[in-house]
Structure formats: C-alpha cells, structure tokens
C-alpha cells in the first residue's frame, strides 16, 4: 500500500508538519464529512457524536467519508475474498488427484474461517494499531476484538473510508497468505495439524511482517516498496511453503507414481477467479477509486497476460506443447510479480515484469524443483516465493515517479532502491523461514504433522473428512 509510506513521512517529522497541515486539513475534512453526513437522513445522529473522535487511538483519524473510495474498497474486499474462496480452493484442488480434491479445497475454506476470527480478535490490532515503544516491531492492543471501531473513525492509511472497511480489506489479505502455503504440502498434512499451524503462523509470522511493512514498522521506514503485498503476502507464503515442503517431505510415490491432476478445469476456474480478484488486491491497495487504482489495475492485467504468454512460449519450446496448467501458472506468476509494483510502474514496465516473471517462475517450478529435489507439490514456492522475490527486485528496477511520486526505481535514476528491495526480501524471508520452521517442529512433536502412509494412499478426502467425490 502506497499510502502508509506517506504516513511514515508524516510520523517522522510530525513536529514540523502536523502543526501546520493538520488543522486546516481537518477543517476541510470535517466540513465535507458533515456535508455528506447530513445527506444520510438516518445517520444525522453521528454528526453529534463527532466530539468522541477526540479520544482516537494513535493509528486512527476522523473519517472523511468519500463514498466512491468506500464503494471501491467494499468491492475490493469482496474481490480479494473471492480469490481465496473459491479461487485458490479451485486452483489448488484442480491440481491434485481425485482422492484429495475435497480436502485440498477445504483447506482454503477452513483457513478463511479460522483467520477471520483470529484477525478480528488480535490479528488486526497487532498488525495495524500503534505499538507504542515497540511500534517498530509490532502493533498494540487498541483494537483487540475490534473494540471502538465506531462509525466515524478511519485508519490513518485510508482517511476517506471507514476503518471497518480497511480492517476487513486487510483481513482478506491475512486470509489468502496462509492459504497459499497449502500448495506446498498438498496431499499429506493432517487437517488438525493444519489448523494449529495456521493459527500460530498468523500470530507469529504474518501479523508482525504486515506491521513491519504496512503497519508503521521498521521495514516500511527503510523505504521498501511493496504496493500490494509482494513481500508480505507472496514471498512470505512462498518461503513458508518451501520450509513446509522440506519438513514434511515428499508425497508417497513422488517421482514414480503418476500424480497428474484429476481435473484441470477446476484449476482454470480458480486461476481465472484469482486473476479477476487480483484487481481488488492490487487496485484496491490504492485505498481509493482514483488514477493510481486505475494504473494499478491496468498493470495487473498486462503483467498477468505477459507472464501467461511467456510461460506458454517457454514451455512450447522445451516441452513441444503449451500446457493449460502452464498458461494458468504463468498468469498467476505474473500477478504475483506485479503485486509489489502495480502502483509504481508504468504499462511498459509491467509488460517487462510479466514477461520476465513467466520465464523465471517456469524455471522455478519446472527446473529448480526437480534439480534440488524437494516436493513443492503445487508450486507455492516456485510461483509465489520466486515470483514474489522477482517482483520485489523488479519493482526496484522499474518504479517511476511519473506514476507514483513515492517510488523511484533504477530506471528513474535510483539504483539504490534495488538494494533496499533485496534487504526487504532477506529480512522477511529469513524471519519467516526461522519462525515457520519452529512452529512446524512444535506441531510435529505434539500432535504430529503428517497423515499415515495408509491414510495418504486412501486419500485425505475420506480419511480427514469422511467424504469423497463420486
């Protein structure tokens, strides 16, 4: 999200800026707020409650409602939820064997339910409120169980939309990130272990990292550019996936048994919904319905398409045939890579990013995986980890101030940004890897991570849920 970078700036030199800016800004805001509110008969009430806003917590500001921005953010939230259910659920379950289809889809669905509740209870507060003296590393408790998220308050990262909308929009990001990890350990993790692991991972990995980059933490302060979550979401999920794949080990029969997807049409539906939903993910990260959202959407579309074509081409050359799964994976790779850049590059930049991402992720999913020999079953690391890293670096290359004054990349005379981006990747990646590993170990030696060989052979649908596709 670009906005927070601005806030950072504000925070850094409050002493000089706020005194002069905020008063008349607030006047304008309140004036408008009042104007709009008086138009909503049933809510005139709130106008009176204005004074309350005096006692706002550090992360919040008075709501200066812009109905257009709010409409777009409500929509974006729906679109990002659509990415996980049914988008990701279908993308992943379309790649597994018949006996695991339901269980794979159920992972996305169950994680959606789990994370929603945990996010409401503590996740949002830890990621997006003010952590006082620990603010650089973690947020605070001002919004535990979302208390005090009244009708006239907004988050400082989006003053023109209600905080409830900002919170729910962020919730959908917190949902899809753990869900993405599942691709790495498909077909072999116990459902109970998955639930425990994901709960811990949200608390110990996602919430802090989201805070570091977006919530006012130290990484954002360092100037890392991550428009919509290339690092927080995709790199993060990809690394966690790799660790999971290594700790859980390969699927039984991996390498000799035929593990071809049962019904790739499900994967095509899923990839399509991911693509469409990504408009909410990237364009929604402008936190407004404005030109930045527009360019972010255009870039998203172009990079995704370019990556689909480049993966298709590379595969056509090396495998003699352009597989459907290849097109889908390419499109997703492009979406991943453009995520951090969507609001910082221009269309030609996004075209390059897409073309590169398609090739790089092909190498990751097809070549690297077999070379190194881990079983990243549905390429959570191959596409999201590698694509996320590539996107972060390429943002440092193609960011141009002609699109967004907040981001200058190498082509804009600021090669140093590439270093900053790499720092961001390393810090996030290392922290994520270490903590993920620790959580996995804890689960492994308590309730256990993996199903038995027999259960794996019978399939997760029947053994974990007592159901199957007939």
């Amino acid at each position: 999200m670009a906005h927070h970078r601005a806030t950072i700036t504000l925070n850094r030199n409050q002493t000089m800026e706020f005194p002069m800016l905020s008063p008349n800004l607030n006047q304008r805001l309140n004036a408008l707020a009042l104007g709009l509110l008086t138009l909503m008969m049933p809510f005139t009430a709130y106008a009176q409650e204005a004074p309350e806003t005096a006692a706002l917590p550090a992360h919040a500001v008075a709501l200066a409602l812009n109905s257009g921005d709010t409409a777009w953010m409500l929509t974006s939230t729906a679109l990002v939820l659509l990415m996980t259910i049914p988008g990701l659920a279908l993308f992943y379950s379309g790649m597994v064997r018949k006996k695991n289809i339901l269980a794979t889809a159920a992972q996305s669905f169950a994680i959606t339910a789990l994370v929603t509740v945990l996010w409401a209870i503590f996740g949002y507060s830890l990621a997006f409120t003010n952590g006082g003296e620990n603010h650089a590393f973690i947020g605070g408790f001002d919004r535990l169980m979302l208390t005090g998220m009244g009708n006239e308050v907004a988050h400082s990262l989006g003053a023109s939309i209600p905080e409830s909308v900002f919170m729910t929009f962020q919730m959908t990001f917190a949902i899809i990130t753990p869900a993405l990890i599942c691709g790495a350990f498909a077909d072999r993790m116990k459902f109970s272990a998955l639930m425990v692991f994901m709960a811990a991972w949200l608390l110990l990995v996602y919430a802090p990292i989201a805070h570091w980059i977006w919530g006012g933490g130290f990484l954002g302060g360092m100037g890392v550019l991550d428009f919509a979550g290339g690092t927080v979401v995709h790199l993060n999920a990809g690394i966690a996936g790799l660790v999971c794949a290594l700790v859980l080990g390969k699927r039984t029969g991996y390498g000799h048994e035929n593990m071809a997807p049962h019904n790739l049409l499900y994967a095509l539906i899923g990839a399509s919904l991911l693509w469409v939903g990504w408009f909410g993910f990237n364009a929604g990260s402008a936190v407004a319905a404005n030109a930045l959202a527009g360019i972010a959407m255009a870039n998203t579309q172009i990079a995704s398409a370019a990556a689909a074509l480049s993966w298709m081409l590379v595969e056509w050359i090396f495998q003699k045939k352009p597989s459907v799964l290849g097109m889908l994976s390419g499109a997703v790779a492009g979406l991943v890579a453009i995520t951090p850049a969507a609001g910082f590059v221009d269309p030609s930049g996004s075209l390059y990013i897409g073309l590169i991402a398609g090739g790089v992720c092909y190498a990751g999913a097809v070549w690297l995986k077999h070379a190194v020999g881990y079983d990243d079953s549905l390429d959570a690391f191959g596409v999201h980890g590698i694509g996320g890293a590539a996107g972060a670096i390429l943002t440092g290359v193609f960011a141009t101030s002609s699109i967004n004054t907040l981001g200058k990349g190498a082509i804009d005379g600021n090669p140093g940004q590439i270093i900053t981006q790499i720092e961001g990747i390393l810090i996030t990646g290392i922290y994520c890897a270490v903590v993920t590993f620790a959580i996995l170990m804890a689960v492994k030696y308590t309730i256990g991570l993996r199903v038995t060989k027999d259960e794996e052979m019978e399939g997760l649908d029947l053994t974990q849920h007592g159901e199957r596709i007939h």
Partner: protein, 112 residues
Amino acid sequence: MKFITAIIKPFKLDEVREALTALGIEGLTVTEVKGFGRQKGHREIYRGAEYAVNFVPKIKIELAVRSDMADAAIQAITTHAKTGQIGDGKIFVVPLEHVMRIRTGETGNEAL
C-alpha cells in the same frame, strides 16, 4: 452356447453393434476398459515431467450367443471393428454352460 468377449476401439462400437443386431443378436453388454498391448498410449505432460500413459481406452463387448451363431458373430465383429491399424483388439470365446433371463426365468437359447 458361447460367451464372446471382444475388445475393440471405442469409436467402432456403434458400427459393431449394428452389425450384430443385423445378425439378429438382441442383447450385449458393454464396458469401458483400458487396454495394454502393442498399441502404445499417449504421453501427458505435467510440470515439465512428461510421462507415458501405458493404457489405451478400449471398449469391451460381452455377448452370449447360440453356438451356431458364434462364427457369424465373430465374423461380424472382426469386419466392423477392423481399421487395419495396431490396436484393433481381440476376440475371446469361452464355452457357456448356462444362461437365465431374470425376468422370465427362461434358460438356454430362449434366454439369449
């Protein structure tokens, strides 16, 4: 009576069935099967790993016939299932001891 099992190429089913009906054969049972033989299966690609699928989709026709009809039936199947290319299939014949039509309890030739 004879129990004839024929393995043929799927797209030949209708043609063969019509030929048998023409002979006055009123019933048969069809099963979708996978065949392994000289004809090699297709190759599937998945994440760069190309693997051979050894089995070819085939159709199995089972029919019980009067002994004196067996040769005619075999003849009909052969002529109409034949493409001349590898994978055309096989015909197997075993002696049939006893037949019964469930609906009527008829046995032997009347049951066919």
